[in-house]
Amino acid sequence: MKKFAVSSADRTSEIQLFSNGRITIDGKEKEVEWIALSSTRRVLRVNGRSFDIDVLSVSRGGNVHVLVNGFPLEISVKDERSLLLHQFGFGGSLHQQAGEVKAPMPGLITKVLVKPGDVVQTGQGVIVLEAMKMENELTAPADGTVKAVHVREREAVDKNAILIELE
């Protein structure tokens, strides 16, 4: 079973995904079908009603950006582990080696948000990588100063390519 605290600007809910396929939201069970049309298009059917889901981005930090029937929603998702880590200040730094930002998957650089010399804080967005038609904002793994930017916008990069170095 996985438990998530899900929130948008003005509302919040708790969602539980059980391994037997059951799903509850705020304790109420829902009959859910989750169908992948492509890597970025899904259909969610809740108790017979369909919702058209366009996946725009899913970030490591638990930020999900989707269109629901065309309406853009930015949603924050925290699971128990990340809630715990967050309390101890480990936030986004878990999988990133301090000192550099690597591409977690092959893709296209669509935005470079910093330049050498910029002072950045842990969790600050530094680069946007598009992969599988989704945009992924990559964040600084630690506080520091940007030492080098190795890519530019519209450049294709491979997985694990070092994009930005910090010091």
Binding site: K2, I25, K30, L44, I53, L56, R60, V68, N69, G70
Partner: protein
């Protein structure tokens, strides 16, 4: 003067360049596009038979470079140039240069552009040809007495405007004779301090007018026809946003009278080719000449749909020196068309331009919809040019039917990457005033506020939440899966439980 056009250079970009290319393709005419650095991958450059680079992004260094464009047309053996709208389309020198280079300008004679571009000259011509203009003084007024007499002659309310001015300085609406002296004095003081010139004009103030325009076609043989009206009252800062044909308030008799006025306006300036005569219409449905646009309008498709005519095709035929296909009494209107202009603007943030890459661009499918657009998914919308990236046009059996179709077409459009005016268009299509047909150019100030935009329903929020949790869980599985250890755990998680439903 009777030529056969075989190749056209399109001196424009974006949706209107695409629009012109479509008609050329149907006619078997070869097209040459010219593009700036910012447009090198744009749809219109790909659809044209050939495309040539003409300069950096700023229009002044690319789309406005008259000589470069004419040279390109000559070098690529074009017979004619289509200017679209905006850019060089209403530049009389360009029209002249094109003709002097031995090319056909697909538009009116330079003199007609010039005459109608000069507001005073245009007004004089209209009065001389019996086209109703807004009642007012033809010359600047210098004394209070002259002013009051004029205002009483015109009838209140009147508008006082600084003769020298612009930008609303010295402008004042006066509703009664009692207010006049104070009002005119204030106007003159403002005008003097702003422009050093206290002279003012007085004209009839048209309160909450509608903006209605008439499409005309005129050939080189003296035939002039009109193709009914377009209702363009839904405007934001004098920019049209939504247009339709016919207008909810124009009946056959009024259409006939406005059409006659527009034909006279065209004759007044020796007009040839497609043009539009714009009118303000007051609450008594009296109409007054506003200006003439000497080119194809952005909103021409609504006329094309209800009259089943291709205006670009007619423009080309006229430029070839051919007779008009149709006489005024052969023209038949059918159904009701509405156009929504789609702009990359943030409706919730004062309609500020929104730039970015179109991460999604999935037009509605299924209804009879015409989408005139210059972009596709993956394209970039920049600050270099107009934020309007397309126009969505529907044809319905009647006005109600067209509104319903537009509502669903807007609802089914999927765009991400930039903010667009689609939420605003949805607001209009659902507003009682628009639906009733009772609205005017003040519609937005009178009715719109961002709180009235449709927001997701509670069910849609819940669906978004559920989808986000499912996506996060998938994403975590993928991360686990790609790690050195945990690979088997990740894979088996993807196969079990609720994940199985995905397949």
């Amino acid at each position: 003067m009777n030529t056969n056009i075989q190749s056209i250079l399109i001196a424009n970009r974006g949706e209107i360049a695409v629009r012109v290319i479509r008609t050329c393709r149907e006619l078997g005419i070869r097209t040459v596009a010219v593009y700036s650095e910012a447009d090198k991958a744009a749809l219109f450059t790909r659809m044209a038979d050939e495309a040539y680079f003409i300069g950096p992004p700023p229009s002044s260094r690319s789309y406005l470079r008259r000589e470069t464009i004419i040279e390109t047309a000559l070098k690529t053996a074009c017979d004619a140039i289509h200017p679209g709208y905006g850019f060089l389309s209403e530049n009389p020198e360009f029209a002249e240069d094109v003709q002097q280079a031995g090319l056909v300008f697909i538009g009116p004679p330079a003199q007609a552009i010039r005459d109608m571009g000069d507001k005073t000259k245009a007004r004089e011509l209209m009065i001389a040809h019996g086209v109703p203009t807004i009642p007012g003084t033809e010359h600047a007024i210098e004394t209070l007495e002259e002013g009051l007499a004029t205002a009483e002659e015109i009838g209140f309310p009147v508008l006082i405007k600084a003769a020298a001015g612009g930008g609303g300085k010295g402008m004042r609406v006066i509703h009664t004779g009692e207010e006049f002296e104070a009002g005119m004095t204030a106007s003159r003081n403002e005008a003097r301090s702003a422009f050093g010139d206290e002279r003012v004009y007085i004209e009839k103030y048209i309160d909450h007018p509608r903006h209605i325009e008439i499409q005309i076609l005129a050939d080189t043989h003296g035939n002039v026809i009109h193709l009914g009206e377009r209702e363009c009252s839904i405007q934001r800062r004098h920019q049209k946003v939504i247009e339709e044909s016919p207008s909810a308030i124009v009946d056959e008799e009024m259409r006939r009278r406005m059409g006659e006025a527009a034909r006279n306006a065209a004759r007044a300036c020796g007009y040839i080719n497609a043009g539009t005569v714009e009118f303000l219409v007051d609450r008594e449905r009296k109409f007054y000449f506003l200006e003439m646009n000497t080119r194809l309008q952005v909103e021409h498709p609504v006329t094309e749909l209800v009259y089943q005519i291709d205006l670009v095709r007619e423009q080309i035929r006229i430029a070839e020196g051919k007779n008009l296909n149709l006489s005024q009494d052969q023209i038949v209107r059918h159904g009701h068309a509405i156009e929504c202009r789609l702009s990359a603007e943030d409706v919730r943030n004062s309609f500020l331009p929104s730039v970015g890459r179109l991460q999604r661009f999935r037009p509605p499918v299924g209804t009879l919809v015409r989408l005139d657009t210059g972009v596709e998914e993956g394209d970039e919308i920049t600050l270099h040019y107009d934020p309007m990236f397309g126009k969505l046009i529907v044809l319905g059996k009647d006005r109600k039917d067209a509104i319903e179709k537009m509502r669903y077409a807007l609802r089914d459009f999927r765009i991400a990457g930039v903010e667009t005016t689609i939420p605003f268009c949805r607001f209009v299509m659902e507003h009682p005033a628009f639906i009733s047909g009772e609205f005017d150019t003040h519609f937005i100030e009178d009715h719109f506020s961002t709180e009235r935009l449709t927001t997701p329903s509670a069910e849609e929020y819940e669906a978004g939440f559920l989808a986000s949790a499912l996506l996060t869980s998938e994403y975590q599985s993928r991360l686990l899966f790609s790690g050195d250890n945990g690979s088997q755990a990740g894979r088996s998680a993807m196969r079990s439980g609720w994940k199985r439903r995905c397949r």
